[in-house]
């Protein structure tokens, strides 16, 4: 009798039955594949223009700063402005040369416009103050960023530096969490995971900078994660991975 058997036996004894019947199994498998009666808040079920405004408002409410730019051309300027505005050295660590499926356009950013920004590609190291990443989606319902881990998106970039800059395309802003899971399911399908959901090692939902109220219930930013999260929202539609 393994410990596993002990637990299953105890659970089945409590439920007063042995293994589920064949019909029950079928019903349970079906439920795993289809969401029934899912309650989706009305709040973010809006035309896309309004979803963008909602995302920006909710993000700012959570103390994320958001700037809007018209195209990728302006991203290096937005980054430089941020660094200057916060008195930071002109160095960033960036997600490495991306595999073209999740964040295809970090490569397309014309960094030559601001040649004095020193860019290192890779995972975060203790000395990094500023990181720049893409994101998988922005969720308007709560002003949340959804980031997936991957060879082109090391998780430490989201957590370790003091300042986390995120380049987000308007087409990536979705309304609700359900839409985000649906987009992820599509991606898994495209990668050949037989239609079933497959998650990468880490999915981060990030809503604002790190904070703590543990010291006399005074809210402070920058507990362990970044002190600031800054979103550069790009009003340019680019084809995501082919």
């Amino acid at each position: 009798m393994t410990t596993r058997d002990d637990i299953f036996r105890a659970v089945r004894k409590a439920l007063k039955r042995d293994k589920p019947s064949a019909e029950q199994l079928q019903a349970l498998e079906r439920r795993l594949l289809n969401a029934e009666n899912q309650i989706v808040p009305q709040r973010a079920q809006l035309p896309h223009e309004h979803q963008l405004r909602l995302f920006i408002d909710m993000a700012r409410e959570a103390s994320t700063s958001v700037v809007e730019v018209q195209g990728l051309r302006e991203v290096p300027h937005a980054v430089a402005d941020y660094l200057v505005g916060h008195n930071l050295p002109a160095e960033i660590v960036m997600a490495p040369s991306p595999v073209l499926e999740t964040i295809p356009w970090l490569e397309k950013i014309p960094w030559s416009e601001r040649p004095l920004i020193a860019i290192r590609r890779g995972r975060a190291e203790p000395r990094d103050l500023v990181s720049l990443t893409g994101a998988f989606a922005g969720i308007a319902e709560t002003g949340t960023l959804m980031l997936l881990s991957g060879p082109d998106a090391p998780t430490t970039l989201n957590l370790m530096p003091d300042h986390h800059l995120v380049v987000l395309g308007v087409a990536q802003v979705l309304g609700t969490y359900e839409e985000a899971w649906a987009k992820l399911r599509e991606r898994a399908r495209a990668q050949g995971a037989d239609g079933r959901m497959a998650l990468p090692r880490t999915v981060n939902f990030i809503t604002g900078p790190s904070r703590s109220g543990d010291i006399e219930q005074t809210l402070q930013m920058g507990a362990h994660g970044p002190r600031r999260v800054h979103v550069i929202l790009v009003h340019e539609r680019f084809a995501e991975a082919g």
């Binding site: 002990d6 795993l32 999915v203 604002g208 010291i215």
Partner: protein, 525 residues
């Protein structure tokens, strides 16, 4: 955490006179309660989501073996390992084993109640491995060698001066004259010190708010990001969770997450909600090389399928204790174990036995606020009452109380006897009253030592009612049918329910004017 539930009455007495704890509790009561209300009001679907969350958990518990199996298979598919632990001993040994296999010297920890339950920190230390709490509140109480006092804000009872003291004592190599009076300075120092610990740890242990069967994922919910650094930087990530944390799908998880942060802190969403699925993948530049899920039973399967199954729906948001008047008066430590507030009053007897914990379900006024705010709609007062019934059946109450209840029950079933008894009681009580109040009463010293008892009316409601039960004359009936005019006099009773901490233990303010004697009973014609 060491169990001290049998010292409950002493713990309570200490807590009531602890000035600093009372100040902290006063702040907490206002903060969390208002924020939760605002967040709930802002989301029109909130009540429907609570119902859905309850249904999801009920469905999962009814099919727990299926979902546990599914979860295990998915974890393995993604390169992780599941460890089944029927009790605390197995869990501790399993974790130690995993740490030894990688020659771990230090272990960082995210907040985990299960960790407290199995006392993993002491065990690791005894075996030469240093655990470091990374949640700021948990870190503070670790330095002070204290247990947590709240499920979400474990250091709520600690002042900033006490934090500064702890930092000065334990943070070696820093300027002893550095200023540590401002919260910002304290946070900055904690961030620096803990960042080093994060980087040097060999193993990271987190809890899990949820486990997801569909994908074999575990979910943590934090505001600091400490859980994320704990699980990303070391070579090994151990998730410590229990069987009832399972939900079927990502959509189910989303429903529960929508009520979790709003109920706990009034946030729309916590800052970091992280789904972990297996170890790092091929090509990843960071992430742990090993992913272990340690699943604990420790008495939960006994609650399944029984009278107390509903408590297994709990997602440890802390809303119940934030709204509980008893918790708000005594804080978390008084409950003597990991789980405090209404949650603790139901779960603790279930896990460690009623013999040790039977005082806890009695520490309730049954005001029902906990059930009102529980996102999973757990009927906490009903469950506490069930424990009290069991306590009575098993003769665990002091015999004086049993006999008093027995006596009362005997009388209550015999109306004539009961009426006779109350007639005597009323006469006695009115005799003892001075100007309408009773200052001391034998057998009720627990009440009268700090409160005055108002003298009752001379006749019970029943007897007054019977005395007047003749049909009224038409004019009098018409007058009685009109609604009463609102009184212009201010209320004679104190209208505030807040007792300033300095008043704790004293009576509730000035005595109102003495009661007028009731109108003379009309003689029957």
């Amino acid at each position: 955490m060491r169990i001290s539930t049998d010292g409950f009455t002493d713990n309570v007495k200490q807590a009531l006179v602890n000035r600093q704890l009372q100040d902290a509790l006063a702040k907490m009561k206002v903060g969390f309660v208002e924020r939760r209300r605002k967040a709930a009001d802002r989301l029109p679907e909130f009540e429907a989501l609570r119902d859905a969350a309850r249904d999801i958990k009920n469905h999962t518990l009814a099919n727990l073996d299926f979902y546990l199996e599914k979860f295990e298979r998915k974890v393995a598919e993604n390169g992780g390992a599941v460890h089944w632990c029927p009790d605390a001993d197995t869990a501790r040994d399993t974790i130690l084993n995993i740490c030894r296999l990688v020659n771990a010297r230090t272990v960082t920890k995210g907040k985990t109640m299960i960790g407290e339950e199995i006392e993993i920190n002491e065990f690791l230390e005894a075996n030469g491995i240093t655990p470091v709490e990374t949640d700021l509140g948990e870190y503070i109480i670790q330095l002070r060698h204290e247990p947590p006092s709240h499920v979400v804000a474990p250091a709520i009872h600690v002042s900033k001066d006490q934090i500064a003291e702890a930092f000065r004592e334990h943070h070696a190599g820093l300027d002893p004259n550095r200023p540590l009076t401002e919260p910002t300075a304290l946070l900055a120092e904690a961030r620096r010190v803990l960042r080093e610990r994060f980087l040097e740890a060999d193993v990271g242990i987190t809890g899990a708010n949820l486990m997801i069967a569909e994908t074999g994922s575990t979910v943590i919910v934090t505001n600091e990001g400490n859980g994320d650094l704990t699980q990303t930087l070391p070579r090994v990530h151990i998730v410590l969770c229990s069987i009832e944390k399972l939900v079927p799908t990502l959509d189910d998880a989303t429903t529960i997450l929508r009520v979790l942060a709003r109920s706990a802190t009034g946030q729309e969403m916590s800052v970091y909600t992280t789904f972990s699925t297996g170890p790092r993948r091929k090509g990843d530049l960071d992430g742990p090389e090993q992913f272990h899920v340690v699943i604990l039973d420790n008495g939960r399967s006994k609650l399944l399928g029984g009278d107390f199954q509903d408590i297994l729906r709990c997602i440890k948001c802390g809303a119940c204790m934030n709204h509980c008047p008893v918790y708000g008066a005594i804080g978390g430590h008084a409950y003597g174990w990991v789980y405090s507030g209404p949650l603790g009053k139901v779960l603790t007897p279930g896990l460690i036995g009623l013999e040790k914990a039977h005082d806890l379900p009695n520490a309730s006024t049954f005001c029902g606020r906990c059930e009102e705010v529980c996102p999973m709609r757990i009927p906490l007062p009903k469950l506490m009452r069930r424990w009290r019934e069991k306590e009575f059946d098993r003769h665990m109450m002091p015999s004086k109380s049993r006999w008093a209840l027995r006596l009362w029950g005997f009388g209550a079933l015999r109306p004539a006897l009961y009426r006779l008894g109350t007639w005597f009681a009323l006469r006695y009580l009115r005799r003892r009253a001075e100007r309408g109040w009773i200052a001391a009463l034998k057998y009720a010293e627990g009440w009268t030592v700090c409160r005055d008892l108002p003298a009752p009316a001379a006749r019970t409601f029943q007897s007054q009612w019977h005395g007047r039960r003749r049909p009224l004359k038409p004019e009098k009936a018409a007058k009685a049918a009109k609604p009463p005019k609102p009184s212009k006099k201010p209320a004679a009773w104190p209208t505030t329910t807040k007792t300033p901490p300095s008043q704790a233990g004293k009576s509730i303010g000035k005595m109102p004017p003495p009661l007028k004697p009731p109108p003379q009973a009309r003689k029957p014609r």
